[in-house]
Amino acid sequence: MQLPPALHARLAGAPGSAEPLPVERDPAARTAPFRFAPRPVRFPREHDFFEEGDVQRHLYLQDVLTQVGGAPERPRVPEFTCQVAGCCQVFDALEDYEHHYHTLHRNVCSFCKRAFPSGHLLDTHILEWHDSLFQILAERQDMYQCLVEGCTEKFRTSRDRKEHLVMRHLYPVDFRFDKPRKSRGPVMPGAAEQVLAEAPGDDGVPSEVDAMEVCSEHVEPPPAPAGERRAYSHREMELVSFSCPRTVAQNLA
């Protein structure tokens, strides 16, 4: 199929078009037995017209998916150590280090050093565990926010929230990132927070390794004075470049 040579130039040119020719229909045009009428056509989901394109799409997906899942070849680099204070993990691949960093050092609570999978959960944790104003407000109104992104429900107690997570959102009863706060010190009369038994370690993971705690090799920081807030952000780490171990070291020095 030969296209006019000017066509490619037209594509690269400016938007716009020639003035449309005048439309002038003769009523005789659509009289029987002739019946043509111009009509945009619409095809619904399952229409056979889509068969060919759908087949091509799935052939492509098959090729793509056979490649997913195997551990990709990682370029190896000379061994280096995580530069975060107190962490002594060693790595020989940047991607491994990236995942380690994000898992253990990225969303870390500066009060209790627990690590969280996301900023959202970290923020919730800080609010509920370390914010005294939260505790005061929680006595009068629903402050415990549902953990599912997009759900705006709030609850009076964390137990109510857990029930909501289980019933409404079909979350597991022992969801790891919703461990209730363990009460420290004397129990105040009328305290809103009930102490629930810590979930037993029958899931096979050694009980001294709490999902939200950093590894025991960390140096314990001096405990923050009770009730005192830090002036700066509670999130510990800024974004770090992963392109080169030396850069990482420089960033964290």
């Binding site: 490619h8 020719l21 003769d26 002739f34 009428a37 619904p44 898992t103 959960l121």
Partner: protein, 495 residues
């Protein structure tokens, strides 16, 4: 995926001919599945034979004792490397269906795996995720459904930052989504749609491509038009989320456009649009504009490069545009968009030429778009004429009747249009089509002839001179054509 795809070496054991043969078999299987409306099925997504050929060595089958040992080592081993190694071995074993079955039947095995998935040891987490991924791939429902306890964590991790890990979680979720409506009935209340909406803001292309895949599977589900797409559904609505806006952003042409990502989201958009839920909303969000620009960009790309795969993006773009053009809302915004821009027609023809060489089976889809563009648009009909595209269009007559429909779209707009269709190759092409036995084709040709006779003086005369009457005669007895044949004979002879 595109970079991975190109880097992938073909297995030495398969010759080129064997690969072509396998591909034909796969195509046949997919065609059959589509006719049975079973195209979204786990079995079809994973091409087993190709995979086995790719594996250097076949994974061993592990028994209960071995699996237990691996799990124990992974949990309680003292050395990092030892724990990781145990999970790697387990993962390899889980490629075998027999091992998968043994694994899921072992008490506490999934619980342990989920524990490792949520542990603080990053590399164990990754390997545990890979094990889950293997299980999610299985053809056995029981194996796939054994992964369900992990889904709340997979969704939670989508808000994390480790791109490789998130990518893996997304492909695993994609596999789970495809498995059954029962699985989706758990994933939707768990908040998969908001989780995806948050994750789509990731800057990582690999994450975006994986997300597009997972979302396309969700949108292709049978219940999607009622339960997943509409904004009325509370927690699970795609149209109610920010996903459509982000999708359109990711489809915007420019230096940031990534083909692999664009393909996935174009298909997502197609599934939403052809479900006919609320296309007006998409139009207000600029879908027509974005897709039009994307079409231009695609046409530019096919000229620049021999790149394999542009047709994978062209197809859903054609579909989205064509279906959107049928919406009343499209008429309303038509004025302000470059949907009056004749470059759209130029781009479409460049793509048609590309498809003619690369994937002729997709030509009807491109012609469908051409019909929808020209049907009610004097502007685009004029573009066809002013850009000299009638002759190239005639070249595609053998591909589809829609060519005749498009010509009728042009001709029915009156004498000014028919004048530009004449003289030229049109008459001889029509005489050729009159020789076909296909009633549809002949019928359309008769309609076009009538319009030409009506609006173009001299057309009837020329028709007679080229033995048009004889061409008409052979259809005099055909029921659907009789009346029109006679009417044309009369007009030709008597004016």
């Amino acid at each position: 995926m595109w970079s991975r795809q190109r880097g992938r070496l073909k297995p030495l054991c398969c010759g080129v001919e064997e690969l072509r043969c396998r591909r034909r078999e796969r195509e046949a299987a997919l065609r059959k599945a589509r006719r049975e409306q079973q195209l979204v099925s786990k079995r079809l997504l994973r091409d087993e034979a190709l995979e086995e050929a790719e594996e250097g060595c076949v994974a061993m089958i592990f028994g209960e004792a071995e699996i237990q040992q691996f799990l124990r080592l992974a949990q309680r081993g003292t050395e990092e490397k030892e724990r990781e190694g145990a999970l790697v071995s387990l993962r390899r074993g889980l490629q075998r269906p027999e091992t998968q079955q043994t694994f899921i039947r072992l008490e506490g095995s999934i619980r342990t795996l989920v524990g490792l998935l949520t542990s603080n040891q990053a590399l164990l987490q990754l390997e545990a995720a890979r094990c889950l991924h293997e299980l999610s791939h299985s053809e056995q429902s029981a194996v796939v459904e054994a992964c369900l306890p992990a889904t709340s964590y997979l969704l939670t991790y989508l808000s994390g930052h480790s791109s490789d890990f998130i990518e893996l979680c997304l492909y695993t979720l994609g596999n789970l989504i495809v498995e059954s409506e029962a699985v989706r009935r758990q994933l939707l209340p768990q908040g998969i749609v908001p989780a995806l909406a948050a994750c789509i803001q990731s800057p990582h292309l690999t994450v975006l491509e994986a997300l597009g895949y997972a979302l396309s599977q969700l949108l292709q589900a049978k219940e999607a038009p009622e339960k997943i797409i509409p904004s009325a559904s509370t927690d699970s609505s795609v149209l109610g989320s920010t996903l459509p806006q982000h999708m359109l952003q990711l489809l915007q042409p420019g230096p940031k456009l990534n083909l692999g990502v664009a393909v996935e989201f174009a298909w997502c958009l197609h599934y939403i649009i052809c479900s006919q839920v609320n296309n007006a909303l998409l139009i207000t969000q600029g879908a027509l504009s974005t897709l039009g620009l994307l079409l231009l960009d695609l046409a530019g790309a096919v000229q620049r490069t021999e790149d394999a795969g542009l047709e994978l993006l062209a197809c859903p773009v054609f579909r989205c545009l064509s279906n959107l053009l049928t919406e009343a809302a499209a008429e309303a915004v038509g004025g302000q968009l470059q949907l009056r821009d004749e470059r759209v027609v130029a781009a479409l023809f460049i793509l048609l030429q590309f498809l003619l060489q690369k994937q002729p089976s997709l030509l009807p889809e491109g012609l469908w778009l051409l019909n929808n563009l020209t049907a009610n648009s004097p502007s685009f009909c004029t573009s066809l004429l002013s850009l000299d595209l009638i002759e190239p269009l005639l070249h595609l007559l053998s591909v589809s009747n829609v060519v005749l429909t498009v010509l009728c779209n042009v001709a029915e707009k009156g004498p000014a249009y028919c004048q530009r269709l004449w003289p030229g190759p049109l008459l001889s092409s029509l005489l050729d089509t009159l020789a076909f036995s296909d009633t549809e084709v002949v019928g359309q040709s008769l309609e076009l002839l009538q319009l030409l006779f009506l609006y173009q003086p001299g057309a009837a005369q020329a028709f007679l001179q080229q033995s048009g009457l004889q061409a008409l005669q052979r259809h005099e007895e055909v029921a659907q054509l009789q009346d029109r044949v006679h009417a044309l004979q009369q007009t030709a002879l008597h004016g």
